[in-house]
């Protein structure tokens, strides 16, 4: 019983390098950014944050929010179906592995390569565009403009769907096969089993994964920039312009944009923690 701090001390020493590293290269930069966003000309001020509400910037947040929400919901729904198809039923192992490894690649795939892949496919000179044009005379690149909001939705789905599938696979795996059998023996129909048992058990991981998809899309920069540049008004692209000095430099306001983005992402990820904590008490 000498002193508890003496015994804890070595522990902190072990965690110190990681803590210092993260402080210098993550926490301090982010802290500096947040402080900057609340200071104008050396004084505390809410002016920069308030400027986020100006129509042009508010619109960027709304567009980014919509893009993230839409791709999270569509990608989430399709990804959920894909996870279901992968997790249940019998199928050859090679097929399972192929889809799984592809999902891993697509969900991790870097933005730039993905953007060019889609330009090669659906761009004006894109292979599929040209093929469809020759066969039917219909110009796909006019209907689906990649450098537009709907084009971005399409391309984002390419990583959102597999990401959802990968996130949901373990959840499907945790559904015990005894549950439907027990429910049927107690008098449940297939529908009642889904509504009463499967859905309540699955919704925390589903909601949590959707929130992750949302945050994932909200912070995405490379894909959007390589595809659309300034043609779609998105927060990450705006921030990019401010950093690279393409627009008039206003350090405090640029920081405010970043702070706004971090607030949205932190809110989504925080909500995810809350949602998933709920289901943790359930597991055996």
């Amino acid at each position: 019983m000498i002193s508890p701090t003496r015994r804890r001390l070595p522990g902190w020493v072990g965690a110190a390098p990681l803590l210092i590293f993260l402080t210098v290269f993550l926490l301090l930069p982010i802290g500096a950014n947040i402080v900057t966003s609340f200071r104008v000309k050396g004084e505390f001020s809410l002016a920069s944050m308030a400027k986020l509400l100006e129509p042009q910037y508010l619109d960027a947040f709304i567009q980014t929010f919509n893009l993230s929400l839409l791709t999270a919901v569509i990608g989430g729904a399709v990804g959920l179906l894909l996870a279901w198809a992968l997790a249940t039923g019998k199928k050859p192992a090679w097929l399972q592995n192929l889809v799984m490894s592809f999902s891993a690649v697509a969900s991790q795939m870097g933005g730039v390569a993905l953007a060019f892949a889609f330009i090669a496919t659906l761009g004006v000179q894109g292979l599929v565009t040209q093929l469809v044009l020759q066969l039917t005379g219909w110009d796909l690149s006019q209907s689906i403009q990649l450098a537009s909001f709907s084009g971005l939705v399409l391309v984002y789905l390419y990583f959102q769907i597999p990401l959802m599938a990968i996130l949901m696979l373990p959840a499907f795996g945790s559904l015990k096969k005894q549950w439907p059998e027990a429910a049927y023996s107690l008098g449940a129909s297939r529908l009642r089993y889904l509504v009463d048992i499967a859905l309540p058990i699955m919704w925390p991981p589903i909601a949590g994964s959707l929130l992750l998809l949302f945050a994932n899309a909200f912070g995405a920069y490379a894909t959007a920039y390589a595809l659309a540049g300034g043609r779609v008004n998105l927060v990450p692209i705006l921030i990019g312009f401010f950093i690279s000095g393409d627009v008039m430099s206003d350090e405090s306001f640029a920081a405010a944009l970043v702070t706004g983005m971090i607030i949205v992402v932190v809110a989504a990820m925080g909500l995810r923690v809350l949602v998933e904590r709920k289901s943790r008490a359930w597991h055996y």
């Binding site: 549950w179 059998e181 027990a182 049927y184 023996s185 107690l186 008098g187 058990i201 597991h283 055996y284």
Partner: protein
């Protein structure tokens, strides 16, 4: 709703998976209110039998009748069955009480009735104070009690227990199986228990069916199975036996110098030599005898009874006797051995079969205590 315990009849059930026959023309009937235990090694088809009865598998041939009605192709939920699985069958997002009340909720029972019935059943399984806990907060034994209460809440006509105790600790297992027997007697529900634990089957089954290769090898009371097994497999599966070499003669077999009747004339091998008699350890009698052919090797205390292990003409024999008598046979003592019964089961000789079967015996009918 009155509780009607149903008669169950499975006739000529066959079932194959990918060309492998799991059930082979199986017949099984259960009397109303009885607890029938299906016992067998893994892969013998006992679980498939339960699943066919539950409607979770459709047989390739044969029929399932419950309470006189053909249920062969009825869906699970129309059969009036309650099931307790081996583990993990409770719905994790519902409390114990909600789990128990779920079947009643599906049946449209009022909230107050559901609550009262759930409380009553949780009381019966001794978990009244855990009603609001979720499965994750309950121990394995408690979860199985809740599962039992849940299965009984809908007043099933047939209760199916699919290895309900095999995932539990030994101590909990022994305690809970007695609880199951008590609750089953109390509710009077026709019950099928599937298990690979012979002790469990013999202690709580009204009747026990031993399965092998998709068929029922023998069906009878625990006493019948233990005392008059039809085959060597049954004899060795439901208890410990000694294999002692025997010679066929006219009118029976010669075992340890005594002429005995053959208890299994239908299944016994026809040859006169290369035979072994299967004798239970408590059916052998020891006598201190300086000229005897047996030498005591060790004594194993099992409680009220002890086992004397002895070397008899190069093989080890196990003899069970009351502990207070066992003291007379110290290691290295010379003894003579004889058979107490008038009839034995005969099988062809197995080379180097160990004489003592693994598990100690405790069988209520025989008054044994662990």
């Amino acid at each position: 709703m009155t509780r009607d315990s149903a008669e169950v009849v499975l006739s000529s059930i066959s079932k194959s998976y990918a060309g492998k026959k799991v059930l082979d023309n199986l017949d099984l009937s259960m009397k109303p209110g009885e607890l029938l235990a299906l016992l067998g090694p893994s892969g013998c088809g006992k679980t498939t039998t339960l699943r066919v009865l539950a409607g979770m598998e459709t047989p390739d041939a044969g029929s399932v009748h419950i309470g006189g009605a053909d249920m062969t192709h009825a869906p699970v939920r129309g059969r009036g069955i309650g099931i307790v699985f081996q583990s993990y069958s409770l719905f994790p997002h519902m409390s114990a009480a909600q789990n128990v009340a779920y079947g009643l909720r599906l049946a449209g029972a009022s909230k107050s009735r559901r609550g009262a019935r759930a409380a009553e059943l949780l009381e019966m399984v001794g978990l009244a104070e855990h009603a609001q806990k979720h499965p994750g907060q309950l121990s394995g034994g408690q979860q199985q009690r809740v599962a039992l209460a849940r299965a009984l809440a809908i007043e099933p006509r047939v209760l199916l227990l699919d290895e309900p105790l095999s995932a539990l600790d030994a101590q909990v297992r022994v305690h809970l199986r007695e609880e199951i027997k008590r609750i089953q007697l109390q509710s009077g529900t026709t019950t099928l228990l599937v298990t690979h634990d012979q002790e469990e089957a013999l202690t709580i089954g009204d009747r026990v069916g031993v399965m092998l290769g998709g068929q029922i090898e023998q069906l009878g009371t625990p006493e019948q199975l233990y005392c008059t097994p039809r085959t060597a497999f049954i004899s060795e599966f439901v208890g410990a036996v000694n294999r002692i070499s025997a010679t066929a003669t006219t009118g029976g077999v010669q075992v340890l110098g005594k002429l005995l009747k053959i208890s299994n004339p239908q299944t016994a091998p026809a040859s006169a030599t290369g035979l072994e008699a299967l004798v239970r350890p408590e059916d052998l009698v020891l006598r201190a005898d300086a000229a005897g052919a047996g030498i005591v090797e060790s004594a194993v205390l099992r409680g009220a009874h002890s086992s004397i292990m002895l070397d008899y003409q190069g093989r080890t024999l196990r003899v069970d006797l009351p502990t207070h008598e066992a003291a007379a046979f110290a290691p290295a003592c010379r003894v003579s051995v004889s058979v107490r019964t008038g009839a034995v089961l005969i099988d062809s000789a197995k080379t180097a079969a160990p004489a003592a079967a693994p598990a100690p015996l405790h069988h209520p009918a025989l008054g044994r205590i662990a």
